[in-house]
């Protein structure tokens, strides 16, 4: 029988301070970048015009840019997309007073510029998006609201199925995941599109999934091993679910890798964000959710708060107390 980490008995809780340092080392530079550079919102959120152009021969970006300048479109982003003859041109809504009509005018001006540079009929516009700034603003608001509300729904469900302390710990871990993911997005300059928001929400679901599976084991072990401290129970639960975690994360990462490599440029940001989310989700389930649950139990003791919550010295690894039959 092939089994990874079948007899693992790592003391995860003891290294929690190191884990917090790791978290800070990831989050702080990421959030610094976020503050300094800001997020690269897609035109769906900012309002603006996007044209994806396929030309019959490779195009010089500088020529394209000067053509756009001649039509009065300044500061447009020109990005190679997949193939050398395929480009995405983004012109954001700049001034605050502009309305939806301007994005339509911009789209027409970009086409005119393309006619000038590439020649009419020598290219095809395969994708157009023109989003008014009002629509973009609404969408951004809705996205934040969706992430925020899903928090409370999950908290309520976990409070109902477990108890509020577990729910709170899971939500803290989730908040960590979202922050880490946003830091990741800021560091890679990924474009925040609707699809990326969808990826963040699915990452939240995935990470919660992971946390719940550990908590479920904690709940079970609290009944099964009445003489163990919470620290021992937490360590035991994480170790017992380790083989499952390795395998599920493995298969998930395998499909994500397939998406990143073969899925095409449109879907790649989604897969990248999820790929990162699998790592941060796993990390937070073990090193954030469990220690935070312990801290919460220490501050507001519940039924699960038992034994010495702040172990000094470190307790014997729990598995060693078990019969050798395992």
């Amino acid at each position: 029988m092939l089994r990874f980490f079948g007899h693992a008995s790592y003391d995860f809780i003891r290294v929690r301070r190191t884990a917090y340092v790791v978290t800070a080392a990831v989050l702080l530079p990421g959030l610094f970048l976020l503050l300094v550079r800001g997020l690269n919102y897609s035109i769906e959120f900012t309002g603006g015009t996007l044209l994806q152009v396929q030309s019959s021969q490779p195009v010089n970006v500088a020529d394209l840019r000067s053509g756009l300048d001649r039509e009065g479109i300044r500061g447009a982003e020109i990005q190679n997309f997949g193939a050398p003859n395929e480009y995405v041109i983004r012109a954001r809504v700049g001034k605050p007073g502009s309305d939806a009509n301007d994005t339509q005018i911009t789209a027409a001006a970009v086409r005119k510029a393309l006619d000038g540079v590439l020649g009419a009929g020598k290219y095809t516009v395969v994708r157009t998006e023109a989003v008014g700034p009002k629509v973009g603003g609404e969408l951004r608001q809705k996205a934040f609201l969706a992430i925020f509300l899903s928090f409370f729904a999950v908290l309520a469900y976990l409070a109902y199925r477990f108890e509020w302390r577990f729910g709170l710990a899971a939500v803290v871990a989730t908040a960590h995941d979202i922050l880490a993911t946003i830091a990741f997005i800021a560091a890679l300059r990924l474009e925040v599109s609707l699809t990326v928001v969808a990826a963040i929400l699915s990452m939240v679901g995935y990470s919660l999934n992971d946390t719940i599976i550990i908590f479920d084991r904690v709940r079970e072990n609290l009944h099964k091993h009445k003489n163990e401290s919470l620290v021992q129970i937490l360590n035991r639960s994480i170790n017992e679910t380790l083989p499952r975690s390795i395998l599920t994360h493995g298969t998930t990462l395998a499909t994500l890798l397939a998406l990143i490599i073969f899925g095409g440029a449109v879907i790649r940001p989604f897969a990248l964000v999820m790929f990162f989310g699998v790592f941060t989700g796993t990390f937070s389930s073990i090193f954030i959710a469990a220690p935070v649950l312990m801290a919460i139990q220490k501050r507001w003791p519940g039924a699960a708060a038992r034994g010495h919550l702040n172990p000094k010295p470190a307790p014997a690894p729990p598995r060693k107390a078990q019969p050798a039959g395992r």
């Binding site: 007073g97 994708r127 008014g132 699809t195 699915s202 479920d216 994500l256 397939a258």
Partner: protein, 551 residues
């Protein structure tokens, strides 16, 4: 319930047959325009899984009432009206399964799949198509008002001298809004020769220039048209015109000799009849001029009114206005006209005439609509996305199969069988609820193949633990399934919760993703809890004496 293998197999068979039934390629009838522009039905055979615009190619438009020029008295009612008009127009335009719906309080979303001419579709959606008939003014009201208008302009500090600096001064005075209304090259006005007063220098009665003999018709040099329009729109200037007279521009410039002129019409404010009374409109080719024309038919009440008014105005000229623009030169009313009439469209194509007939027939928009969001995906990009998504899905599936079989051996094979069931049930379920498959949805399915095995992994790991605890194979399997249940249910419910919020907030593609996610979770729970369990039961039934499990 379902304690016997036989009853469980029947349930699984029903699920498989159901999924295959919903996925089985069938005949679908599509309405599409033929080469002659007439709609006809085409039957094709295909898998009945609806593809979103991003996979199929097509156009998504979000429209709002444009109240910048005309304020709606009752926006809710006007939006409902616009929605009805839009449905009729798009029905005539002929698109397969168009989506036209109200979103929120003030928005209409139109989704047209697989269209090949987006510009034309946009024009049809946006056109107000408000048809009016007005008698031209015979009192020379504009000529008489011109000196007063020029005086007003002079008082406002707008002079005809120093023309090159003027347009900017005018624009400053008018502010951003009306400057935007004339986006054309405003400096063109500089080239126009200016004599006398500002306006009287630019506006000449058509009769005086020899361009025609229609009363109320004025010629303006085409380059000066934007500037004259903005000057006439200054409220103080517009007030100089007598009550009951309204000014309207011609829809296109006309060549008079070597000069290109734009006709301006002084019209009787009152419409004799409007498009509200129209019941039918057809595009035709005029046998005399070979140009396109649109014939129309009015309803009984409209016909009576039209007849009465035209009877009173025999010998007068009647302007035909579409969306506030005069179409062609106003014809003289030869005799009383009844319910049928025609609009000639000189210099236009037959398709334009067909589009006009289409929008006239569907009715006018109460208030013009503006496009606040537009997304357009070419069909080639869509099929490219599908191909890449399927490639990624296949490779992902192969990797997952290798991992599962390599790690769990024979039990892994059962999990792979369950995975096949999972993919089948997810697609069948999506087809059953007529969900739309979008690109993020496709990615969601690929991703969920990796996640779907989680339930099986949980169960298998649990069985392994029970075996390690020294339980018999049969007991370990039972216990494994029982204990894993809690974790599976809890984790899936929380994922469904986040997916529901995603559905609530998302537009098109993201909604599709949320639906796929929810359907995937349901299918994954069915396969892991029910199908894998049944497969294990069969396995243990056949090998009752099995003491070690290949897991």
């Amino acid at each position: 319930m379902f304690s016997t293998i036989r009853s469980r197999l029947i349930v699984i068979a029903v699920l498989i047959v159901g999924s295959v039934y919903f996925l089985f390629p069938r005949d679908v009838t599509i309405r599409e325009p033929g080469p002659n522009g007439v709609m006809h039905d085409v039957t094709v055979t295909r898998v009945p899984l609806k593809r979103g615009l991003d996979l199929q190619g097509g156009m998504h438009l979000a429209l709002e009432l444009d109240q910048s020029k005309q304020v709606s008295a009752d926006p809710a009612k006007d939006l409902e009206l616009a929605l009805t008009v839009m449905r009729k127009r798009i029905d005539e335009f002929g698109v397969e399964e168009p989506l036209i719906q109200k979103v929120g309080e003030n928005r209409i979303v139109v989704e047209l799949a697989g269209i090949t001419d987006p510009a034309r579709a946009k024009a049809i959606v946006q056109r107000s198509a408000f048809l009016e008939f007005k008698i031209t003014d015979e009192t020379q009201a504009l000529e008489k008002a011109l000196p007063a208008m020029d005086r007003t302009l002079r008082n406002l500090g707008i002079k005809s001298e120093g023309a090159p600096t003027q347009p900017s001064a005018v624009q400053q005075l008018l502010g951003g809004d009306s400057a935007k209304a004339t986006p054309k090259d405003s400096t063109a006005a500089d080239t126009a020769t200016v004599t006398g007063g500002v306006l009287s220098g630019l506006i000449q009665p058509a009769m005086a220039t020899g361009a025609g003999n229609t009363p109320g018709e004025y010629a303006v040099p085409e380059p000066a048209y934007p500037r004259v329009d903005s000057l006439l729109n200054i409220p103080a200037v517009a007030r100089q015109l007598p009550r009951g007279i309204t000014l309207r521009w011609s829809s296109s410039p006309t060549s008079v000799g070597v000069q290109s002129v734009r006709f301006l019409y002084a019209l009787d404010d009152r419409s004799i009849v409007t498009g509200a009374n129209l019941v039918d409109a057809q595009a035709q080719i005029d046998p005399l001029t070979n140009g396109p024309l649109v014939t129309f038919e009015l309803d009984r009440a409209g016909g009576r009114k039209f007849g009465e008014e035209t009877g009173k105005h025999v010998g007068d000229y009647m302007a035909i206005l579409l969306d506030g623009r005069v179409q062609g030169r106003p014809p003289v009313i030869q005799s009383r006209i009844g319910r049928n009439g025609q609009i000639t469209l000189a210099g236009r194509t037959l398709q334009e005439a067909q589009d006009l007939a289409l929008t006239l027939k569907a009715g006018a928009l109460p208030i013009p609509l503006k496009i606040v969001e537009e997304r357009q995906v070419g069909a080639s990009l869509g099929s490219d996305s599908i191909r890449k998504g399927i490639t990624a899905g296949l490779i992902g599936t192969i990797l997952v199969v290798l991992i599962m079989v390599g790690y769990y051996r024979l039990s892994g094979v059962l999990a792979v069988a369950a995975l096949a069931g999972y993919i089948l049930f997810t697609l069948g379920g999506l087809s059953m609820i007529e969900a739309t498959l979008t690109l993020p949805g496709l990615a969601g399915i690929v991703l969920s193949i990796g996640i779907a095995v989680d339930a099986n992994v949980l169960i298998f790991e649990r069985i392994r633990e029970e075996l390690l605890n020294g339980k018999t194979v049969r007991l370990a399997v039972d216990e494994g399934f029982r204990h894993a249940m809690n974790a599976i249910v809890d984790s899936n419910v929380s994922t469904v919760l986040t997916a529901l919020f995603l559905f609530q907030f998302g537009t098109g593609p993201v909604k599709g993703f949320a639906v796929t996610l929810i359907m995937g979770i349901i299918a994954s729970m069915i396969t892991a809890i029910f199908v894998t369990r049944t497969l294990f039961m069969i396995w243990l039934e056949r090998r009752p004496a099995m003491s070690t499990l290949s897991i």
